[in-house]
Symmetry: C2
Subunit: 703 residues, 2 copies
């Protein structure tokens, strides 16, 4: 509900020449946040942000350049200012909270260009308790209908050489390990200590980084810059000026080098600046969700968060294979493909997973490699590898449908596109009808490789729209979707709640086939990648050493207890129990936590957090008086302190603590854990020692 | 049926050093055609062609360059030669003949590269009575799987400065008027006497022309170069060396400048060289059809050639409009679009066409502008204009379905994509289901504008595959398809017989909205554009002056009688009666020919033809003993001489002759015609005077 602004905005419409000839045209505050909008003598629009009287964003430019030499980065004059305030509460279909307060003050600055055809441009700011967001709007106007953005000139000028958690500004991947450095040390071309092995490296700008970009100032301010409601526009990367600490928008181009093709009225995604002096507040921010449109899906009753297993980790670790044959060109004497015998997605093996999932209450089962085309799908930029409806010869679709229904397990479809999004556009109807026919109500999609249409990028405007088309078309068929290798999410799960999760980051799988993820990785992800939305991180690996067939020395960089904690700290409505049934079999006591843990929540408390160091989160299961707590640390041991003051007073609870054994260590003794059951109440504080690379998971149920 | 070659091939495998160090590796003849294949001292493969001992193609190079510096244009050695001969007859689903003889000798030259990874390349030649075709095959081989063609080095070196009928080598359009010049005068950047106004000019090479390229030598040899079975490969344009008369392959690139992404085993389209000393034999050639695969559609009973009318010419001439409103952004007080009142595709007007078509036995009715999105679909390179299922507010889909069925008229769907092929890929299922739901069994598609995916071209590999996807998906829904603005056809109507027709050339519509087509235009089209397949040329304009609302001086460059003749000379299984009902109303005696003329044939006789001057064709209606004759001329009057010796001996026929009135002239008196009914038999010869820009149409029925 929008209501007229009842309080006075402190507009400073009088001429105020500052040191840089800046004329302040609006100053407004909301809670701890103060925004100032300016126009300088050249008509360049700018803004700056303060938090509790501390500068967050120094005066920074706003604007665009359009093709055809249309310059919208200067020569603006103010034609008006509107403001309003909103305080509303809405209920997400699923989420970390069962209701979300959307409380902000909105300020719209109306500009007109004095030179470029009198083009009108509005800049809409929204001030939240935890930061500022702004977007550009090109209103309907006589002199601008169809136009092409060649550059967005938005800046975010930092006050100093902040500590930064960053990945390279790759047009096609977010699957990098995070580097922690000062802004002045950002170098997207510098190899890290970990192998990248990203399938499509495409980093033209040596000093560009992806958003969400997490920073921490020397005086303890946490700043997060990202984007919200990324629709019909390319993703924004940030170019880092290593001497001025200016971050400037770098839009991902199309094949022609253009950035966005728009028609007025048009609006850009929001640029979000979340700020706090407590790291916990960054993680509890709902700003990005609030900036997205409400659900476009009216009947959401078919959308159900779930846990799932997968015929998957065994291929990641090369125990088995996605493919059925070594040579699709060679047929047997009877005209059939010759199997190599290592195809994991065979009916018998799938049934083995169905049995385990059924016996342990895991609702879903993903099967990768079920279809033809896996022999040479990778790295060829060819397209047409997959048709999404043709099973491998040893995958019996009907029998698996029958057996999974008998066992009460929900099969999850897999559609790897090999980044041939154009073929997938044409095949989606066929693929989704196939799913409905055989009882699949969700799909994991994948975009590994260089995009087709060739010249497009994973993070460009065309693909941004493709992901949304996929979510919309899936919704038409009442299918939930989990996208791998898309752009980093921007809160669109509010608008398309069937879009349960994305990968778009360096998941647990990298521990299977590469040097993996550092112990600190999962303490950074919630502050970066996951600010945009849920991640299908695939936790739950129990066999942490000796799992990679071809690399016996390889190991996961966590303890087993930390793998459990990730179910709470890495929020997703879709959580995988990623390891093999046989690896769980010896640890069914620990697996109990995975069986118990919820995937949808009434409430979430960020108990303690520091990016790169540790995170402790408590969440309350939706519709139940049960809490789950996850605590993780980086390579350093620490003691997590968890006051249980979120519990109902005067009630008694049982806490089951899954913690690192006293001698556990991610490197030397990762699988040593201890399970303790204790009585607790709202006055209790759990003190749990986390091993190096360790963690703890706790379930707290009413007695 | 293939059978072992029973005759001896005159292989010259002995070393024969010619003046250019060429070693002839194979010489073979078939009927009047002689082919020589060679390897020179550098291992460059070449070929030359003779017709009746006259040189047609001088020794010309063959080969490729691949990305990654892989050179397949030299260093070849011969590893073997295979040959076979075929003489078979097949029945097309529809066509100019009810059966087609496929008679050729095949010679496959197996080459291996001595430097580039020992790559294997086969060149397959097929010698027909009327020419030579060849294609490249990359066999399955260990050292070449996925590869990218950066250049095809194929040459066609002409023997002299031939007279040539050409259009510019535009990556995105074939809709140019033809220029007749010598090869040495080809200049694709030189404006012609007629306005182009092509929507997407994209001619990077000043000396490139499209195929089919029609040539005539000084000594009267007719040579036509085109391509057949264009699948998974870009179209080939020909670069003209104006001094050496060498034509070399210019493949249409993708956004990255690459030409074709292939995987072995792979084969290119055929390069076709049709040659004769009679122009008529060029038009009667079935080589291109024969080089295509048989129908992939098993049940073809639903595929029916037809005549149709259209709510169309009135928009082309600006009597009405495709759009419903002037301003889609402005709604009325009741929230509705405000109509401008000129929308042609309104229910009442559509019914008027249904009534006329029904009363006159015209089977189909196309309605353009029936859907939303036409206000600003043109020239914006934006995509997403059309959703293919949302009718304009005044087009009542259900009522039109009801009324057309009542009246026995088959509605034809229109899907203009605004060249946003990627959106159409995603929407085709939805669009085709909509068609099936509302009783449409055919669709006219359109690709006006710059292609999306941006960077792709109408004639590039991605779009080539898109057109085939559209034809295949349409076939899945039992829908016939007529594509406008695709690549020039290459005989694929044999493989996809539901792909009835294409535009891909400068149709009659250019007379509506531009300076039009010269009187010679229709005498060139069958030798150029139409060598590849049927064209939806839209003949039948009766009101030849004063039809263009905004250009009263504009006129069609033919007489009325010539418009009738085009139904025979411009072969298509889909023929439009393109003018307005009210323009036919005053000439129903002439319209009788359009009512009578067939669209599917048992036999076709090219009676006389000279590109740029005249064409006379007789065709026998499928399943009936009825013939239709069309004779046209260019700007010069002439007397067509039509021996009726194709009629059954000893039978009597009635010929109805629709001819130019004696004082007719396309320029001064175009609508003057005369209808005569006479008795004829196989011994008769019709002598009919054609006015300047005129023609004649004759129906010959058994008495």
């Amino acid at each position: 509900m929008k209501k007229p602004l009842l309080f006075l905005l402190s507009f400073l419409l009088s001429v105020q020449f500052a040191h840089s000839q800046k004329k302040s045209i609006a100053v407004t505050s909301f809670d701890k946040i103060r925004l100032e909008v300016s126009l300088d003598a050249d008509g360049v629009a700018g803004y700056s942000v303060q938090y509790k009287d501390r500068q967050v964003i120094l005066p920074s430019k706003l604007g665009f350049e359009l093709t055809g030499g249309i310059n919208l980065s200067n020569n603006f004059e103010l034609t008006g200012i509107d403001s309003t305030a909103v305080d509303e509460t809405w209920k997400p279909v699923w989420g970390e909270w069962n209701k979300v307060r959307n409380h902000y003050k909105q300020l719209t600055v109306h500009l007109q260009n004095k030179k470029a055809n009198a083009i009108l441009l509005n800049i809409v700011f929204e001030l939240f308790e935890d930061g500022v967001a702004f977007r550009y709007e090109f209103p309907l106007q006589p002199n601008l209908k169809y136009f092409i953005i060649s550059r967005e000139t938005t800046e975010f000028i930092m006050t100093g050489d902040h500590k930064t958690f960053w990945i390279p500004g790759d047009f096609d991947s977010n699957e990098y390990p995070y580097t922690t450095s000062s802004l002045s040390e950002v170098d997207a071309w510098k190899p890290t200590m970990l192998s990248f092995g990203v399938k499509t490296e495409n980093i033209p700008d040596q000093y560009a980084v992806q958003t969400p970009l997490m920073m921490k100032t020397n005086d303890g301010l946490y700043i997060n810059i990202h984007q919200a409601a990324l629709v019909n526009y390319p993703a924004m990367e940030l170019h880092v000026d290593r001497s001025t600490f200016s971050l400037s928008a770098n839009l991902v181009p199309d094949a022609r080098g253009n950035k966005a093709y728009l028609r007025s009225p048009a609006k850009t995604p929001w640029r979000t600046i979340i700020v706090s002096d407590r790291a916990e507040n960054i993680l509890s921010s709902t700003m990005i969700l609030n900036l997205n449109e409400p659900s476009k899906i009216t009947n959401t009753s078919w959308i159900k968060p779930m846990k799932f297993m997968g015929v998957w980790w065994e291929m990641q670790t090369n125990k088995g294979s996605w493919s059925y044959t070594n040579n699709p060109d060679s047929l047997s004497a009877t005209g059939k493909l010759v199997p190599h015998g290592r195809h994991s997605a065979n009916t018998a093996n799938v049934k083995r997973y169905i049995d385990f999932a059924s016996a342990n209450g895991i609702k879903g089962l993903l099967v990768e490699g079920w279809n033809t085309g896996w022999e040479e799908w990778f790295g060829n930029w060819q397209g047409g590898h997959f048709d999404f409806v043709t099973p491998a010869p040893d995958f019996d679709v009907k029998e698996i449908e029958r057996y999974s229904k008998l066992k009460g397990v929900q099969m999850i479809m897999h559609n790897e596109t090999s980044a041939d999004a154009s073929t997938y556009d044409g095949q989606m109807d066929t693929a989704f009808r196939f799913m409905r026919k055989y009882g699949y109500n969700s799909v994991k999609t994948g975009y590994v490789g260089q995009i087709i249409p060739r010249g497009e990028h994973h993070d460009g405007q065309w693909m941004i729209n493709h992901y949304i088309r996929a979510a919309e078309k899936a919704a038409q068929y009442k299918i939930m979707i989990d996208m791998h290798e898309p752009v980093c999410p921007t809160g669109l799960q509010r608008t398309y709640p069937n879009w349960l999760a994305c990968e778009a980051g360096r998941g647990n799988e990298w521990n299977a086939f590469s040097d993996g993820n550092l112990p600190e990785h999962e303490t950074i992800m919630p502050f970066t990648r996951m600010m945009g939305g849920p991640m299908d991180y695939t936790p739950g690996i129990f066999k942490l050493r000796n799992y990679a067939r071809d690399a016996p020395a390889r190991q996961v960089h966590t303890t087993l207890a930390k793998q459990l904690a990730l179910y709470v700290t890495m929020y997703s409505p879709l959580q995988m129990a990623a390891d093999l049934p046989e690896n769980y079999a010896g640890h069914m006591d620990a697996f109990q936590f995975i069986k118990d843990v919820a995937v949808d929540w009434d409430d979430t408390k960020i108990i303690e957090a520091e990016p790169g160091d540790y995170i402790t989160i408590a969440r309350k299961e939706k519709g139940k008086n049960t809490w789950f707590v996850g605590a993780i640390t980086d390579e350093n041991s620490r003691e997590a302190s968890i006051p249980l003051n979120f519990l109902d007073k005067n009630k008694k609870y049982v806490a089951i603590i899954y913690r690192d054994a006293d001698n556990a260590d991610w490197k030397t003794n990762p699988e040593a854990y201890k399970i303790e059951k204790i009585s607790v109440d709202a006055s209790s504080t759990l003190k749990i020692k986390l091993a190096p690379g360790g963690g703890a998971a706790v379930s707290v149920k009413e007695r």
